[in-house]
Amino acid sequence: MIYNMEYESMEKQNLEQLQIERLQATLHRVYRNVSFYKALYDKEGIQIDSIKSLDDLKKLPFTTKNDLRQSYPYEAFAVPLRDIVRIHSTSGTTGKPIVVGYTKNDLKTWSSLVARILSAAGITSHDFVQIAFDYSLSTGGFGFHYGAEKIGASVIPYSGDDVMKQIQVMKDYRTTTLVSTPGYALHVASLMEEMGRDTQELNLSTGLFGSEPWSENLRKEIESRLKIEAFDNYGLTEIIGPGVAFECEKHSGLHVNEDHFILEIINPDTLEEVPSGEQGELVFTTLTKEGFPLIRYRTGDISSIVEGNCTCGRTTARIRRISGRTDDMIIVDGRNIFPSNIEEILFEIEGVEPHFQIVLSREDGVDIIELKVEVTPNFLPFDEIRKVQVFQEKIAQLLTSQLGIHAKITLAEPKSLKRSTGEKIKRVQDNRK
């Protein structure tokens, strides 16, 4: 179902008008209220009034994670602190966290955008939505919580810990919808299988997964093991949290909420816009945020535009599922490799789980890639050195033939690598510095 017919299926030229109006208003507000933007535009000699079209947006400098870190905690807020009613923050796994403030209106906007995600996945007031994101400074839990309440679903705010109890609640409360990271869903499936329980015991029919890139194969695996339909959604705390883009029932890309965010896709090296359809870094400008507006924010997430209109009736732009992050990117022999590429390959190999870690090191000036892969619990030939070697070679060969990288393969015991339970997996460990 389309939650907001008027705005999700706008004619292109009406959308463009709305975007330019909201962009101009946002620019006036950030210039007046955010010292970071005022100083930046003054320094660059940029007149806000000179932004007359969406194309003119390109004249403005980007905002980076680093800019926001320097504004820690509240410097980039655009309203007085007394107008802020909620504070969230990024996890800060790669540095100082970024603190994001929401006004009353921001929370309303956010709920309605998450309501769009849920409606597109067919969730209604008849559903029981169990949220397995942590209710914490991160946005996943609260974002989905209020969105699900908005459409009248029954919300079960379980949080991420204790999978065993989670499963029990899911069964007893007749949960129909699981909201979590894809890794967590897989974990639920594995645990049930381990206990010899059938996932059919559950009433689960739909899963909404996000907050880390996941491959199409992982989707198929989750769908078949949990017997559900799995939907991808995309968002990030700096922009609003979940609610930036989402899949509809056609599963052909993620619809961007363009009435609230302007999307650009750039080449992260040249910073130029990529031709439509090509991969690049997603850049967003917020159009309605009051507390924490951002102009041309570089997300570090990699995707591309899906051309043409979706048959679902929405007219908003679609992006492909996130294939990786610019900062997860490994560059070997001029090739950009994303961990998700490796995940795709591991799926083709019997005997390994899609849980892995890439360790980069440098010996005598040569980059060494080590891939630590977890084997499945029923992986037998651990005691036969030759068989293990053959197995390792097979993985190494696939990586060479498909990605062009030469990696040392290390097999790890099941569940020995760090799990993702609401927290993001750190898939790349770079020891080269």
């Binding site: 330019i20 507000r29 602190l81 007394r82 107008d83 009353k104 309303k108």
Partner: protein, 249 residues
């Protein structure tokens, strides 16, 4: 209905509108709120072509009317109910109303004008009773009804109203705004400029906030009512109320 991009206009060297972009959809009541001197009236006067814009674009029902003369705007279905009513005080109510039908003058259209006049008397029965009274002797509220009625005489699609609540008692303002809602229910589109933000946001669908010649906010009426800047600046919510509640800063 109307779509405006980057409109700039002013008086001699004084630039009042600094790049205004806005749109009004068919059947909507849209309001522009803002302080005195923000440029709200200049905007309506520029749309009505009483002021020539220095740059930008105005599309009325898809047609570029940026540099069209005022009568073309009226013939295109867009009328302005000006600030301070601007009636002819020494002419009768009926005469004032008929002036609004000047686009219908001509042999074949006078019937239309008469029909419209009947409609307006139906909408404002008081004007029927007072049709031969001099406009200058009416109360403020009645004068506003004449001004609105005069605008409606050409049967426009888009009605622009400049400060309709000015100088009127709260109860009369309520009456006028009720009429505006009725117009929307009949399928008309309304763009209202107001300083009385609270009253107009009660009937509007969407709104814009204008500050010193620029639009700084767009949103549904509900969103604007919940925006703290709007509440502080235009809804008379006292600064102290906010600080007492918050305690921070």
């Amino acid at each position: 209905m109307i779509r405006i991009r980057n409109l700039e206009a002013g008086y001699d060297k004084l630039k009042v509108l600094k790049g205004i972009s806005l749109h009004v959809n068919s059947g909507e009541i849209v309001t522009i709120i803002g302080a005195n001197g923000a440029g709200k009236s200049t905007l309506l006067n520029t749309i009505a072509s009483l002021i020539t814009p220095s740059s930008g674009e105005i599309l009325l029902q898809g047609k570029d009317v940026t540099l069209a003369p005022p009568d073309r705007i009226v013939k295109g279905g867009c009328v302005l109910v000006p600030e301070g009513r601007q009636l002819f005080p020494t002419m009768t109510v009926k005469e004032n109303l008929i002036l609004g039908a000047y686009t219908l003058f001509g042999r074949k259209k006078s019937n239309d004008a008469n029909r419209n006049l009947e409609q307006i008397y139906k909408m404002f029965p008081i004007l029927n009773d007072r049709q031969s009274q001099l406009a200058g002797t009416l109360s403020g509220g009645e004068q506003q009804m004449v001004a609105l009625g005069r605008g409606l005489m050409s049967n426009p699609n888009l009605i622009m109203m400049d400060e309709p609540s000015m100088g009127l008692a709260p109860l009369i303002v309520k009456d006028i705004f009720k009429v505006v809602e009725t117009l929307r229910d009949q399928g008309k589109t309304v763009l209202i400029v107001e300083q009385n933000a609270k009253a107009v946001l009660g009937i509007a669908d969407r709104g814009y906030v204008m500050e010193t010649g620029s639009l700084v906010l767009e949103g549904s009426a509900e969103e604007l009512l919940d925006n703290n800047d709007v509440r502080r600046a235009y809804l008379g919510k006292d600064y102290k109320e906010f600080t007492d509640m918050g305690g921070r800063e």
